[in-house]
């Protein structure tokens, strides 16, 4: 797993929720389900760090079943994927998940889904180009507020900042070196 112990981002990425279905009844985990019993087949939205753990670990005993199975979250469901395929730049992916790519990355660790991987790859690339353009001339984007920029998820934000800082630092050096 590409998780870094000290990285706040990776902790927050792991705390995003994914739908899980319990395969065994777990009487002692009732607090997870607002006090209701967790039976075989109960569906719950669990943070990924817990869901992934439950999906991978198997109880001791003769049964070969895992504790729970993780389903693809709706953020990566067909509706979103189709929208991304149609036009990556017009989708507000931050509304889907704040660490959208992180979520996709975690899910791809569990599922081998060629389609999702393809769509995410394409989306990231096309949006990155748009980010580079927007970062180059921030004056227009700062005033009206940009629909696209508001829909950036966290790693894209970071990208925007990196691109913007690059040009800005060069500009700053030019200014400061003309003065001295």
């Amino acid at each position: 797993m590409a998780t870094s112990y000290y990285s706040v981002d990776s902790i927050l990425t792991d705390s995003q929720k994914a739908p899980c279905r319990f395969e065994v009844s777990v009487p002692l985990l009732t607090p997870l389900n607002n006090g209701a019993a967790i039976e075989n087949g109960t569906k719950l939205e669990l943070p990924f760090w817990m869901g992934g753990m439950l999906a991978l670990s198997r109880p001791a005993g003769p049964s070969s079943a895992t504790l729970a199975s993780v389903d693809m979250p709706s953020e990566l469901g067909p509706r979103v994927l189709n929208a991304l395929k149609a036009d990556p730049k017009s989708v507000d992916i931050k509304a889907q998940a704040r660490w959208f790519y992180g979520l996709g990355e975690r899910m791809l660790d569990l599922f081998d889904d060629e389609e999702i991987s393809e769509v995410l790859n394409d989306t990231f690339k096309q949006r990155a180009l748009e980010i580079a353009d927007k970062a180059a001339n921030t004056r227009t984007t700062q005033q009206g507020g940009d629909e696209f920029l508001r829909g950036l998820e966290e790693s894209e934000r970071r990208l925007f900042r990196a691109a913007h800082n690059g040009t800005n630092d060069v500009k700053k050096w030019f200014d400061s070196s003309s003065r001295a």
């Binding site: 599922f111 690339k125 970071r158 990196a162 060069v170």
Partner: protein, 255 residues
């Protein structure tokens, strides 16, 4: 743990390093050789040109003790020629080449040492000699072209024949090359890169954060796919998923 500074040189640092480039000055006053950390400087004797580091040259220039003679590539005809190359459609994807690399020097302290032999001494971009002195190559932009031309044009503009045209040409060049870099972003891939031969230090510092971020992001997204491919190659197409199968029998779930 997260490092506070991003990897690579910041534009400030690139600008600072640029001031170590040697430039040619025409002194107006005598000055004995100075013992600097990087070695002694040339003694200045008024009518004869000498090579000095840029920072010292700018200092002397400010005190009106010397004039800087701009490198040959920082002249109107040379820049026009380079700009022609950059805007030529036949060379749409390439940057104008950096100066020719010099032949390795023959003065090696231990000629028989294989690690110090001539053909292993590779000279490359930031360490080229005479890239900005009056002996520089005329038809190529050296590594620190942008920083150096900016410093010379702002602090020693009166040493140019036609500073305004030079300034305009430098700005044109910068924009053309930047747009080429931007076009290069389109082909970024988790495993592919942009060919950046001939790109200057400041230009690299400007785009490093973004390009690094994009490649890193793509690598993360493609990681699982990459791992699956590698596993397939390792095991001849047989995954070891059977032991780690999920209970809901999804065939695609291999670990």
């Amino acid at each position: 743990m997260a490092l506070l500074l991003p990897p690579g040189l910041t534009p400030n640092e690139v600008g600072f390093l640029c001031e170590m480039e040697l430039v040619t000055v025409i002194p107006r006053q005598r000055l004995d050789s100075l013992e600097l950390l990087g070695g002694p400087t040339q003694a200045l004797k008024p009518p004869f040109p000498a090579q000095l580091p840029l920072w010292l040259a700018l200092l002397l220039k400010r005190q009106k003790r010397a004039n800087i003679s701009p490198p040959p590539w920082l002249s109107v005809p040379a820049l026009e020629q380079i700009l022609d190359f950059e805007t030529d459609n036949n060379f749409a994807g390439v940057f104008s080449p950096s100066p020719d690399l010099p032949a390795p020097r023959s003065t090696v302290s231990m000629p028989e040492d294989p690690y110090l032999s001539n053909h292993t001494l590779e000279m490359s971009a930031p360490f080229l000699k005479d890239s900005s002195t009056s002996r520089a190559q005329e038809n190529a932009l050296p590594y620190h072209w942008l920083e150096l031309s900016h410093l010379l044009l702002t602090h020693a503009a009166d040493d140019f024949d036609d500073p305004d045209s030079v300034r305009r040409l430098v700005r044109d060049l910068r924009e053309v090359r930047m747009s080429k870099l931007r076009k290069g972003f389109k082909v970024l891939e988790s495993s592919a890169g942009v060919k950046m031969n001939g790109v200057g230090g400041m230009e690299i510092a400007e785009v490093r954060g973004f390009v690094g971020g994009v490649v890193d992001g793509l690598r993360r997204i493609n990681r699982s796919r990459e791992e699956a491919r590698r596993e397939q190659m390792d095991e001849g197409g047989v995954g070891y998923g059977s032991s780690g199968r999920y209970a809901d029998d999804d065939d695609e779930m291999e670990l």
